[in-house]
Amino acid sequence: MQDDPVIRVVSKVMIPTVMLFALYVQFHGDYGPGGGFQAGVIFASAFVLNAMIFGLNRGRHVWPANLNLLAICAGVLLYGLTGIASLFLGANYLDYDVLGATAKSGQHIGILLVEFGVGLTVASVMVALFFTFAGRLTHIRLMSKMQAHEEASPPASKTKTKAKKAGGRS
């Protein structure tokens, strides 16, 4: 769809708006409806929109897979480590009272951290799910190419793949 000017222009306006809205939902969750789960899904939808309009490959460049896997783990770890931090400060696991100067500010810091962890996990999980489902066809093609490469005799296959690669790049 990247050759369609209407969709391209509107998406360039809408994607930052969607991300801004996700951040609003994430950090306004204490005062209105919202929180990490909703914000994560909305944030992921911005990446999904980007990938749907500009193609999967460019979508992957915006948010690389390795970074995304790290983000999935980092979100869960942030949640768990918040609990461990309160454990080290002498309270129970996930008891945020001790994180700040007063109990109330401690609760605020704890909830902010935990919600951020949830948002990070949910957003990157949704992006990963979308790219896995949408990239399945390319994955199968690559796998079959690899199989053909393995089955053919080494010198013949080498020239073949080289030719293919050159053709694909040009």
Binding site: M1, D4, V6, I7, V10, V13, M14, T17
Partner: protein
């Protein structure tokens, strides 16, 4: 009649007209023939229905924070609604679905007459 009452009246009237527009748009979506025709029904819901309902809510809004939010919602609707309709039309065109030849037969008849 004070200015406040007049704005309220305008708001309620545009809410009612907006709801009617939504209902007619839905009817069109159900009753019209092919995809291209049905999109006209969807267009009424997108612009006429949602726009008039938003305008009515703006007239009735009690607070400036609500007004700001409604204007933002209106901005997003104006951006996304027509684009979505455009994307659907494009998808139908790309998938090689020809429109029902209603207009073509009519012009042929006219040419004969």
């Amino acid at each position: 009649m004070s200015a406040l009452e007049i704005t309220q009246l305008i708001g309620i009237a545009s809410l009612l007209i907006g709801s009617l527009a939504v209902i007619f748009g839905a009817l069109g979506l159900l009753r019209l023939g092919d995809v291209y025709q049905r999109m006209h029904g969807a267009g009424i819901v997108d612009t006429g229905g949602a726009g008039l309902i938003l305008f009515g809510l703006l007239m009735l809004s009690p607070d400036w924070t609500v007004t700001v939010r409604l204007i933002l919602i209106g901005f997003i609707l104006v951006m996304t609604g027509p684009t979505a309709t455009h994307a659907i039309a494009r998808a139908v065109r790309v998938s090689d679905q020809e429109p029902d030849n209603v207009s073509e037969t009519k012009t042929k008849k006219r040419g004969r007459g």
